[in-house]
């Protein structure tokens, strides 16, 4: 029974991280229709920023996380202003190429300053909780609690505030949003800022149980793309449910079958779900 709970916990941990990253990706896609390949690089920059604040400036974990969220939010807004905004009337392929350009650029810059070494970022939550044989490292618990808190906060922001409503309005209908006087530029920047901040928070939550290095975003972004396809491009509940499906498929598949097969299981699920629901679990508009 313990082993089962252990896997539930693993699935939740993985799903939480994937979810936070996928949320940012799906928000940007839902509103601006840009598949932001550079999102994984923002995640990586978030981890390095936290690492810098904690190790070099000696700040506390939570403060580092907040600062890193701010840094990456600004960086994401800059990407929007300097790269995606000027391309708004260009064919869609230009956005994609630009996003890959940003990805390569950010990775090269980080590698230039920090080198390609693997780094460890210790959090103050290094302890391990034990309940009757069930082993829960504190940081993993923190990831789950943190991710759900952030998801709830995002939900409240989008539903209960005027600013958040503009994002939803824009996702539902661009023309409609313009008609009621919503400033498209502001919404675009806001969306990028939120997506960057979520990526930075996810990276800071996850980094203490993983390694920090310039290529750390590759895997996570790949999974995040699978998740938003699975959940429905642009759908917020889709991103969360998709992330949990993938997280649980990896943890249960990896444990009860074999690590070799866990990707096969995850991707077979993708194929099966897409054959029944070609637009993903939550088609757009189901906000």
């Amino acid at each position: 029974m313990n082993l089962l709970f252990q896997q539930v916990l693993n699935g939740l941990t993985l799903g939480s991280i994937y979810g936070l990253v996928a949320l940012g990706l799906t928000l940007v896609y839902g509103i601006l229709h840009i598949p932001n390949f550079a999102h994984g690089a923002l995640y990586m920059v978030g981890a390095f920023a936290s690492y810098f604040f904690m190790t070099d400036l000696g700040l506390h974990y939570w403060i580092a996380m907040l600062l890193s969220g701010g840094v990456v939010a600004v960086l994401a807004m800059l990407c929007e202003r300097l790269v995606f905004h000027p391309l708004r009337n260009a064919p869609p392929i230009h956005d994609k190429i630009a996003a890959i350009g940003i990805l390569l650029f950010l990775e090269a810059v980080v590698q230039m300053f920090w080198g390609s070494d693997f780094r460890r970022m210790a959090s103050p939550f290094g302890g391990i909780l034990r309940f009757d044989g069930l082993i829960i490292p504190e940081q993993r618990l923190l990831i789950i609690v943190g991710a759900f808190t952030l998801m709830l906060a995002l939900h409240l922001f989008l539903r209960k505030t005027m600013l958040g409503s503009t994002i939803i309005a824009m996702a539902q209908s661009r023309e409609g949003a313009f008609l009621v006087g919503i400033d498209a530029n502001r919404v675009a920047m806001l969306t990028f800022a939120i997506s960057g901040m979520l990526a930075a928070f996810a990276a800071t939550l996850y980094a203490p149980i993983n390694l920090v290095y310039p290529a750390m975003g590759h895997l996570v972004i790949m999974k995040a793309f699978v998740i938003i396809v699975l959940g429905g491009m642009g759908s917020i509940p889709g991103a969360i449910v998709g992330a949990m499906i993938l997280g649980f498929a990896e943890s249960f598949g990896g444990f009860y079958l074999s690590s070799d097969y866990k990707d096969i299981i995850a991707f077979s699920l993708l194929v099966v779900i897409l054959s029944f629901r070609p637009t993903g679990l939550f088609a757009k508009g189901a906000h």
């Binding site: 993985l14 390609s116 070494d117 993993r140």
Partner: protein, 382 residues
């Protein structure tokens, strides 16, 4: 524009007069293809750092005298992102564009890819990989730098069997190199009367988390775990195994180094009972210590074996070219044995003794274990 030209001339003059370049009239290009970006970038850069140090040695001494000519050595490094096909493209480029006659490659897949055409294109492969089949193919222009890992399999298994028990959980990795290791240790372990209770290699390139994989192995109650791959992810696997309550020993594949793993696990405590290769920092010879100090000054960290072995190998290559009086690959390869014998002791960090007929450097097998929180060298019976 005029200014630019003047600047260029001035720079050229300054370089020409200031450097030792006056003594050497020709440039000798040596090639390198390895991962310089992506997940394995650190590994590639470490390898390259050793080669660069060796090139510095040679150039600072006034260049390399081969036959009548003196050469300045220039290392040309290309990024292959650990991909064999890119390594092959790079090697072709190095040979065609820069006329290199030796290419350093630090990964097995790349070596195999280059072996397809290195004899026809006439260049020497300096292979940094301990996979035995690299030399077993009898490619006449391949030199294997580190010792074959088959030497380790027996001694590591014996130690773990004797000290921890018969139940082995395999939690190695899934890259080509690790697969060959896994097969060999599985066979050796069974032969010695042990039992494989779980086999669940981790995919370091595709997994974001190893917790699930590790808990699967531990659920079978092993006495010893076989782990390995790059040092840092291996450290994560070991850390998570300890968190999940594993109390046995570890057999660590030679790619991972105990001192680098300890950086990730935050000390040697979690590594108690691990058996692996001796990290260079634990060599007590003066030669090795001098290299460690010099490297620390230049790079601010302790060198791993990829820097040290490639440093050594470059000096062997340079010596062989001198002895051959030419850079012609076949002639150079033929002089490798003599070159090792004639190598200045300060370059021979691992006390290598010679080269086998099929091109492997002969290095004494070493073994280190973590006992009472310290890395201890153990004698290995050949």
């Amino acid at each position: 524009m005029k200014n630019l030209k003047a600047l260029a001339v001035a720079t050229a003059l300054a370089l020409g007069i200031g450097g030792p370049a006056l003594a050497a009239d020709k440039t000798l290009h040596i090639g390198f293809t390895g991962p310089l970006s992506g997940g394995a970038a650190l590994y590639g850069e470490n390898t390259l750092s050793g080669l660069r140090m060796a090139v510095e040695d040679v150039n600072e001494a006034g260049g390399l005298k081969i036959g009548e000519d003196t050469y300045q050595v220039e290392l040309i490094s290309l990024d292959d992102k650990y991909s064999p096909s890119q390594a092959a493209t790079n090697a072709k480029r190095l040979v065609k564009e820069s006329g290199v006659e030796a290419v350093f490659v630090p990964h097995t897949g790349g070596v195999f890819a280059l072996q397809d055409f290195n004899v026809d294109d006439d260049f020497l492969i300096m292979a940094y990989t301990s996979v035995p089949s690299v030399t077993a193919q009898k490619n006449p222009l391949t030199v294997r730098i580190p010792p074959e890992f088959s030497n380790y399999v027996d001694s590591f298994s014996d130690y773990a069997l004797e000290h921890y028990g018969k139940r082995l959980g395999v939690a190695g990795a899934t890259h080509e190199y690790a697969k060959i290791w896994t097969d060999m240790i599985t066979e050796a372990w069974k032969e010695k009367g042990g039992e494989i209770v779980a086999s669940n290699p981790m995919d370091y390139n595709k997994s974001t988390d190893f917790y699930t994989g590790v808990s699967r192995v531990i659920a079978e109650g092993p006495d010893v775990m076989f782990v390995g791959g790059a040092s840092e992810p291996t450290g994560l696997v070991i850390q998570q195994a300890r968190q999940l309550g594993f109390g046995g020993g570890f057999i660590v594949m030679d790619q991972a180094k105990l001192d680098e793993i300890a950086e990730v696990t935050g000390g040697l405590d979690m590594l108690e009972g691990a058996v692996g290769v001796v990290p260079l920092s634990e060599y007590d010879s003066e030669v090795a210590q001098a290299f460690v100090d010099r490297y620390k000054q230049a790079h601010g960290k302790v060198p791993g074996s990829e820097a040290a072995y490639n440093y050594l190998a470059f000096h062997v290559l340079a010596k062989a070219m001198q002895l051959a009086g030419s850079t012609e690959p076949k002639a150079v390869r033929a002089k490798m044995g003599e070159a090792i014998a004639a190598l200045e002791p300060k370059y021979n960090l691992y006390a290598i003794q010679g080269i086998t007929e099929d091109g492997g450097f002969i290095t004494p097998t070493t073994m280190a274990v973590v006992e009472d929180g310290k890395i201890v060298r153990k004698r290995v019976e050949e």
